[in-house]
Symmetry: C2
Subunit: 226 residues, 2 copies
């Protein structure tokens, strides 16, 4: 069976961290968000290697939190200055014989097992596979004092996990850092690879605000009732 | 005091309606979604005239539903072929002395009173005011077989209510219909007016999928607990 790895990015060098506890350590239902993200990946892919990338100053905190919950086995790698550097550190922590690599947000604990597996299988046919959903709202693009409407029918919300063939990903992460790397797929794209879009899930939200916590609690409750 | 009106758009001519009950008639907590949207506007602006735009085939259904709940006073106008036509019909149903007009989605029952009032007050200074929020996710633009990343820092999710000075709005809706009218603000913009962006609310979601219903129930529960 193909060997798979998943890098879960849970913060960089800490530049943007305030005094408050980062979202990934907060409780969602009966588990910290990051524990949920790790366990969901493990449930979907029991044989996958999991690497969690954490800012250096959060490693001890995470170890203390993780010791008090059931968290699937994972290695820890240190966060870098930008997400690009964090992912690169995570890649270095994976075994060399991994063939497919998922990169996932630590604050995205609601991706379904089905979605995670589907992305991994698609990556056997395509070098770079990312989940996207069509947005329900209208959008505008802001330019200084002005803004203009953008055709939402062409717009897609990009989620994680983003799954890549390992050779493609390793090659892409040999590039020097660029400010144009806005997500993992963009790094691979800058290296010349085509990105394959796969239908994601509305429920697979990124938890970044208190409102998102409320929304996530509700989704978990509904998922548990299924 | 300035006279205000709000048009709540709850469906056009019914082109996209399936066999299932449209979302605006579904129960959210103890009230139909559309009743919540109407009542929230009324709570924020007790003196405002409210016009609800409905497809002809849903008028009787709505009257039957509304009779069984506490719903603030409102007129009914008939939906047109496109949203543009629906809003135009709504405008014709408003009193001629209305000075400020809000246009709101019938399936957006979670806008706070504070937001609704703030938008109305901003419209006293600016002819066209719309609530927007910065998106937390990355986005791609799809073009045929390909897609490319878009700078999310310039992107804003557009919500409703969108509030306009009545003279501006009436003039804009004298234009012939164009497929470029993707929302109410775009109609006004095509008529040459500048659109003013105001910070919206993450919780002010548009309910379009079963997942959104779950999310909305959670937000309502949290708002009720406040």
């Amino acid at each position: 069976m193909a060997k798979r790895g998943v890098i879960i990015v849970a913060g960089g060098a800490g530049r943007r961290m305030g005094a408050t506890l980062p979202k990934q350590f907060m409780m969602l239902g009966n588990e910290p968000i990051l524990a949920r993200s790790i366990n969901r990946i493990h449930e979907a892919l029991p044989a996958a290697e999991i690497v969690v990338v954490l800012p250096r100053e959060h490693v001890e905190l995470w170890r203390n939190i993780a010791a008090r919950f059931e968290v699937a086995e994972h290695k820890i790698a240190l966060g870098g200055q930008e997400r690009f550097h964090s992912v690169r550190n995570g890649l270095q922590a994976l075994s060399q014989d991994v063939e497919y690599v998922g990169i996932h947000d630590g604050v995205r604990p609601l991706a379904s097992k089905k979605l995670i597996i589907r992305l991994m299988l698609e990556a056997e046919q395509h070098p770079a596979v990312i989940p996207v959903v069509a947005p329900p709202d209208s959008y505008r693009v802001v330019e200084g004092e002005h803004s203009h409407i953008i055709d939402r029918s062409t717009l897609r919300i990009v989620q994680t996990p983003q799954v890549f063939q390992a050779a493609t990903l390793l090659k892409a992460y040999e590039q020097p850092f660029s400010a144009a790397f806005t997500d993992d797929a963009s790094v691979v794209e800058m290296a010349g690879e085509k990105i394959t879009l796969v239908e994601g899930e509305r429920e697979n939200i990124k938890i970044t605000t208190p409102a998102d916590m409320i929304i996530a609690e509700a989704i978990i409750k509904a998922q548990d009732e299924e």
